[in-house]
Assembly symmetry: C2
Homo-oligomer: 286 residues x 2
Amino acid sequence: MSPAAQTNLALDMGSSPDRPIGVFDSGLGGLTVLKEIINLLPGENTIYFGDSGRAPYGSKSPETIGRFSQQIVRFLQRQQVKIIVIACNTASACAYDLVRNTAGVPVIEVVAPGAAAAARITRNGRIGVIGTRSTVESGVYIRAIRQSAGRPVEILQQACPLFVSLAEEGWWDNSITRQIAETYLADMRSSQIDTLMLGCTHYPLLSTVISETMGPSVRLVNAGGRVAAQVRQTLLDRGILNETATPGWHRYYTSDSVSRFEKLGGAFLGETIDGACQVDIEQDSV
Amino acid sequence: MSPAAQTNLALDMGSSPDRPIGVFDSGLGGLTVLKEIINLLPGENTIYFGDSGRAPYGSKSPETIGRFSQQIVRFLQRQQVKIIVIACNTASACAYDLVRNTAGVPVIEVVAPGAAAAARITRNGRIGVIGTRSTVESGVYIRAIRQSAGRPVEILQQACPLFVSLAEEGWWDNSITRQIAETYLADMRSSQIDTLMLGCTHYPLLSTVISETMGPSVRLVNAGGRVAAQVRQTLLDRGILNETATPGWHRYYTSDSVSRFEKLGGAFLGETIDGACQVDIEQDSV
């Protein structure tokens, strides 16, 4: 066993079901994943970190995203989380290996579960993937879908950089958002895909517009529910699933102001967020 | 003389005309200001820092923007700059006092020169101000314009958060940008303003669309040229203006990847950017 694996095992053995699930994102998008985790695992305690002070990640370089992700992992380690969920496609695409190698606890990312679902759902073998520029440029979905499919599939990708800004602006369903969707998705519409992967945790908020733009023959895939299922299975396998009937507690941290995080985040989560804390994690050298 | 003023004087006395002008922004927008400085003062050496790794600033809290600005000032101090230009309206609005008190060299910000111009230009005393959410919420333009005007003026403000994303996406003049402008500027158009302050250094890139939306009776005010004039006057007053006929050198630093900064930044500056450097300034405790 490698020294790194020994360290991981040693840290992991100290886990108990009571410890929280750690979830992080560049900002608010990951709350759409947290929502699915809370729905599926209501007894679990959770800690969410949204890096709103440095959001968005989608147009930044892989090196920068790696550095930010490692700082967040150190913060979550100090909170004694038993598992870490990278609830951000850009960070999953650019920093998963880095995070997995240093976390000391199991790490779940959002790309593989979504890719597996898309590969399973498609009938005609033509799949579209939309995401941030960094996610699309990483090619991570192409590799993950091909690996899951086990047969030839055709994959068309499109970066939709403004979608995150539109989601954060609250323009989830208006005429401008529809036109931007039509502009970004023009090639997708003429390509006869039957499955569209929402490769960014912000995009479920725009799913009405995206679905109307693509038409009824295209099925949208949102990884949130599948990520939650994978979290459950991983905790079950390790004997650290919290199956208490008492509802868990949920704590929220952000690198920007609490008031904006609570106000906007509540809309993403679909529930009121109270008592979020602002933390400065930049001093963590990596 | 206060101890702080003594320190400032001591540091400032060490300045010489050869030292560079330091210019910073949340990312690329400040390059529209740098462009004016280089045009007016071709013999000056310049150092530009774009915080693209943490951009945009416009929706972040004043505390976060203050912390980021102070880290950048420390970086510029190490580069021995003779003057600092805050080429970002959000940072000018939220962090000017902080920067001025710690810089040790003269600090020029972008709000006062633009506000003075708007107050001078208006004929009917009705002025519009557009900017990021943080700039608008700070109320800094209202105070600055009122102070400059010396007579009652009516000021209408509007936050246009998507404008920065549109500028960075390169959608400077298309039908979607026009519709977003019409949505944001609807109240401005019916308010009979005759002067519109572009209160964000990204907005000059969208000036064609903004101008067409507002119509020919509204004059747009872009602070860039006035900021350059103020830099010149300040250097002249202090005897540290570089009047050499040899063109100055221009160095570029960013907190994100160099390739993206150079590619997009060249479009903002209107000239090719070569040899930019990536720096990590987060470890600077403040």
